[in-house]
């Protein structure tokens, strides 16, 4: 191999680090992403997480790691096949290959210590895998990572990730000063000795790549490194946690569940800075009940969960609808049904959010489609919850929750914070549900307001909150609660169309697929195809103007990560086909023959797959 070589200029690259879990691949990748974002590249990172904490070593199912997409432009999704992969063993690559993570020509920097393993079986596995990978077009470079790390530490398993980071830093011409700073920050709690060792490993990896690896790239910056418009880099769950703080909420009441928990981990660390409190309840039912109690007493609260937790919370959510208690419920969706795919993405909780409760339980449902929206939508959700005196479900998913991206630093404002609670006397003759006939809206007495004493109940009730024994009261209560959604609908704008407002196909999406859908649509538009897209943030009520928008396109297609029958699957007819969740709602609401395309592989949908599917449809 040659020595110093000229860096090749590229527009973007996708890098993966995969290993057994516990080898620090994610830490290395996150640090790499942060360094790159701080330098001014567009970045998206997404974790590759095995479902088990300690899966067997060297097993395809145990693949753990991270994907980083770097570019000289703003990056909105995880992209298609990777360009360079660092793998700490060969077995974990099999599961990535199975998910189409790689292509012919993908470069694999593979730990080669297995070649000298005392177990001949492992040596055989390694050799046959390498041969197979090469046969399938992967460019395998065997790298003595263990040997190199052993020069610096007797326990290379713990430090190899920094060696990997060092290699990638050279390959992608990263700013090593920033790298040193990030590594020191990462290990700040572990003491100077640990920092020093990791710095040495980082440098060793860098030097090794400089001497021995031919690949060397330069990715022009998307923005000035020290630009005046500041950015922050977070994942979606941290963004949600920051949103909770910036919205002035008093309390997060939660029960641990993947992939939502890290939002609460983050808050548990910093929430005291704004006087907030994370309550870990005994179960999800108690978690939402506690939040409802707090909110009933005037202190704004939210609960953050995922599908199975949402299922347990339904009875309380219905109470919050019935008794008009403001409440924010964050749902970081994962694969279902049941325990499903705990660490993987799905958009499968839309209908459960809308219709999960027995009886009619109208509530506001919104979905964030970027990491930045995970922040801002919490603030919006709190305001909506209070203005409309209702629970608001904010949907995100595992892809947003664990994806990391730089975005404009929010400028925290006093008006985002919840107002202090009103303790002034309540006019005695104003009922606790003083429904405005037209909007269903009313303001609520808060405990402590003299004259406002009333008994909140989940039973059908009159506007005095008295248990209703007559035939009209339940009808009226339902009317009033439903009318609030109509009132909100009246304030919403039609969705913006990405592309021309007429054409052959209109793609409709919601949630984390935004970046991938728009990337695919952009490519098709550049090639002259008449394809546009819209992306919904409000799911209940739906955004206005959909029917008019749909009327200008020959075909309407939702792309979602939840189950649908393929139209041409065995036994499937137009009479029994089960559509994706958004498609079902759109069909019901617009009476337009909306089609859908989806999968439930537990993966973010790649823009390339969307492109291929749209091309197939354009040809038909």
């Amino acid at each position: 191999m040659s020595k110093t070589k000229q860096a090749v200029r590229i527009d973007e690259h996708i890098i993966e680090i995969v290993s057994d879990s516990g080898e620090g691949a994610q830490k290395a990748g996150q640090t790499f992403g942060t360094i790159s974002a701080k330098m001014g590249n567009g970045v998206w990172t997404v974790e590759i997480i095995p479902a088990e904490i300690k899966p067997p070593a060297r097993s395809p199912a145990g693949a753990s790691g991270i994907r980083i997409r770097l570019g000289s432009h703003y990056i909105t999704n995880m992209g298609n096949a990777a360009d360079i992969v660092v793998a700490l063993n060969e077995q974990v690559l099999y599961s990535r290959i199975a998910t189409h993570a790689y292509k012919r020509g993908t470069v694999v920097l593979l730990e080669n210590k297995w070649l000298t393993d005392p177990n001949p079986e492992i040596i055989k596995q390694y050799q046959s895998a390498v041969a197979e990978f090469r046969e399938n077009g992967l460019v395998v470079l065997e790298v003595p990572m263990e040997v190199e790390c052993l020069k610096l530490t007797p326990r290379p398993r713990l430090g190899k990730n920094m060696f990997v980071l060092g290699m990638l830093n050279h390959i992608y011409s990263r700013d090593m000063e920033k790298a040193y700073r990030e590594v020191a920050f990462t290990f700040q709690r572990k003491g100077q000795k640990v920092i020093d060792l990791n710095h040495k490993l980082l440098q060793a990896g860098y030097d090794f790549a400089k001497e021995n690896i031919d690949y060397h790239y330069d990715i022009p910056l998307w923005r000035e490194p020290d630009s005046k418009d500041p950015l922050i880099v977070t994942n979606g769950n941290q963004a949600m946690g920051l949103g909770v703080m910036a919205s002035g909420m008093d309390l997060v009441s939660m029960y641990p569940i993947t992939p939502a928990t890290s939002a609460s981990h983050y808050l548990a660390d910093v929430y005291h800075q704004v006087g907030g409190f994370v309550h870990q309840a005994e179960d999800e039912i108690a978690a939402v009940g506690f939040a409802i109690g707090s909110s009933y007493a005037g202190k704004t609260a939210c609960t953050i969960t995922s599908g199975p937790g949402l299922a347990l919370k339904t009875e309380f959510i219905a109470l919050a609808v019935m008794a008009e208690i403001p409440l924010v419920i964050g749902v970081v969706q994962r694969g279902g049904p049941s325990t499903g795919l705990p660490t993987k993405v799905e958009q499968g909780d839309l209908l459960a959010s809308l219709y999960g409760e027995p009886g009619d339980a109208p509530k506001i449902v919104i979905a964030a489609s970027t990491i930045e929206e995970c922040f801002h939508f919490v603030i919006m959700a709190r305001k909506l919850a209070e203005t409309f005196r209702t629970p608001v479900i904010l949907l995100t998913d595992a892809n947003l929750g664990t994806g990391v991206q730089p975005y404009p630093r929010p400028d925290a404002k006093a008006e985002w914070l919840a107002a202090p609670i009103d303790q002034s006397p309540w006019e005695k003759d104003v009922p606790p549900f003083d429904w405005n006939e037209e909007t269903g809206l009313s303001s609520r007495p808060i405990v402590g307001q003299p004259g406002g004493e009333f008994v909140l109940t989940g039973l059908a009730h009159t506007k005095q909150s008295k248990v209703a024994y007559d035939r009209d009261s339940n009808q009226r209560g339902c009317n009033m609660r439903s009318r609030k959604l109509a009132a909100l609908y009246g304030t919403l704008k039609a969705p913006e169309i990405h592309g021309e407002s007429e054409g052959d196909i209109l793609v409709v999406g919601w949630g984390s697929t935004l970046g991938a859908i728009e990337e695919a649509v952009d490519q098709l538009q550049n090639e002259g195809h008449k394809v546009s897209s819209i992306h919904l943030r409000f799911l209940s009520p739906l955004e206005p103007g959909l029917k008019e928008i749909f009327s200008k396109f020959k075909n309407i297609l939702t792309i979602e990560i939840n189950y649908s029958d393929e139209a041409d699957a065995p036994l499937i007819t137009s009479g029994n086909r089960r559509y994706t969740q958004l498609a079902m709602i759109l069909r019901a609401q617009t009476l337009v023959d909306v089609d859908c395309w989806s999968n439930v592989h537990g993966q973010p949908i790649q823009p390339g797959l969307i492109y291929d599917e749209l091309i197939r449809r354009l040809k038909n």
Binding site: L251, Q273, V274, A286, G293, S294, K299, A412, Q449, G458
Partner: protein, 317 residues
């Protein structure tokens, strides 16, 4: 209602609350139901302590007994079956100044809400929890409850209850942070009053198991105790529930029991008959969860904005 303050100015209490201030809708329990007696006592204690109605919240689950908030003139929260305690704890979490009462049933608390009962004892938030224990599901018409005695016939066990009953007293004593546990009967107004009053005065989670008459579905059970006071064991102690000398004659069995003595409390609680009446356990020193959960409660806008900005700084590029 006058008082002299330290600076000699006269403090006139502007508001005086009468019993009527604590009365809500007319109680719709059956005639002879023990719930009436408890409601009356709760209202009297509110009056005697002059609790401002707007600062008082009655929280309940679902069941006959859980209708109590509707009959109070305070704020109230009539929520879900089994879930009174999480709501009550949430109310208290950021508003520790509120006076929180919980009305719950033997099914509501010890069956569907059992998990919350265990954990609420651990949280030890300052509230008065009244379990209306009629040994039966009343509202849903006579199903076996966790405290239904073995062999008692109900609509779900027409041949008689097949499981030994759960003992809420020993179970509660087994939970860490337990700070106040008492038992009383609804048909002795003086003891009922004194017990609930002591529970309310305790700073922490006070659980009172009230043996309650259900004249419709489990009348024999309470009648047996009413007719045979020897089936009750009155606990006496200077730190226990104060009881007037003249009432002692109603209780042929008494035992001196120091409520700080946990192992003796446990021994007493283990015996279902005679049923102990009085204060089983009291520890005024257990910390209350709301001391943690309400921290930062009154932080000002400037400080909050500074806190948010500090958090954002951590992620700055």
């Amino acid at each position: 209602m006058f008082g002299l303050k330290a600076d000699w100015s006269v403090d006139i209490k502007e508001r005086y609350f009468a019993l009527g201030d604590y009365a809500g809708g007319e109680a719709r329990w059956c005639p002879g139901c023990g719930d009436h007696a408890v409601l009356t006592v709760v209202q009297r204690i509110c009056r005697d302590n002059q609790l401002p109605p707007e600062m008082t919240v009655a929280v309940s689950g679902i069941g006959c007994s859980s209708r109590l908030p509707h009959y109070m003139g305070t704020y109230g929260f009539h929520g879900l079956h089994g879930r009174a305690l999480p709501v009550a704890c949430g109310i208290k979490s950021r508003r520790p100044e509120l006076d929180v009462w919980v009305a719950t049933g033997d099914g509501d608390c010890y069956s569907i809400g059992a998990g919350h009962w265990l954990h609420a004892v651990r949280y030890n938030m300052n509230m008065t929890v009244l379990v209306f224990d009629n040994n039966i599901y009343g509202l849903t018409k006579k199903q076996t409850s966790p405290t239904t005695p073995l062999g008692f016939k109900s609509n779900t066990h027409p041949q008689g209850a097949i499981l030994a009953p759960l003992n809420p007293l020993t179970a509660t004593l087994g939970i860490s942070n337990v700070s106040f546990l008492a038992q009383t009967v609804d048909w002795n107004p003086a003891h009922l009053y004194a017990t609930i009053k002591a529970a309310h005065a305790h700073k922490g989670f006070s659980l009172v198991n009230i043996i309650q008459r259900c004249p419709v579905f489990s009348e024999q059970l309470s009648k047996d105790l009413q007719d045979n006071p020897s089936k009750l064991l009155l606990l006496t102690h200077e730190n226990g529930i104060p009881i007037e000398e003249k009432l002692l004659r109603f209780f042929p069995n008494t035992q001196e029991h120091d409520p700080s003595n946990m192992s003796e409390a446990y021994d007493i609680a283990t015996n279902l008959s005679p049923a102990p009446i009085g204060l089983l356990y009291h520890d005024p020193e257990v910390p209350c969860y709301e001391e943690l959960s309400s921290m930062g409660n009154n932080m000002g806008v400037e400080d909050k904005l500074a806190g948010i900005n500090a958090a954002l700084d951590q992620f700055a590029v």
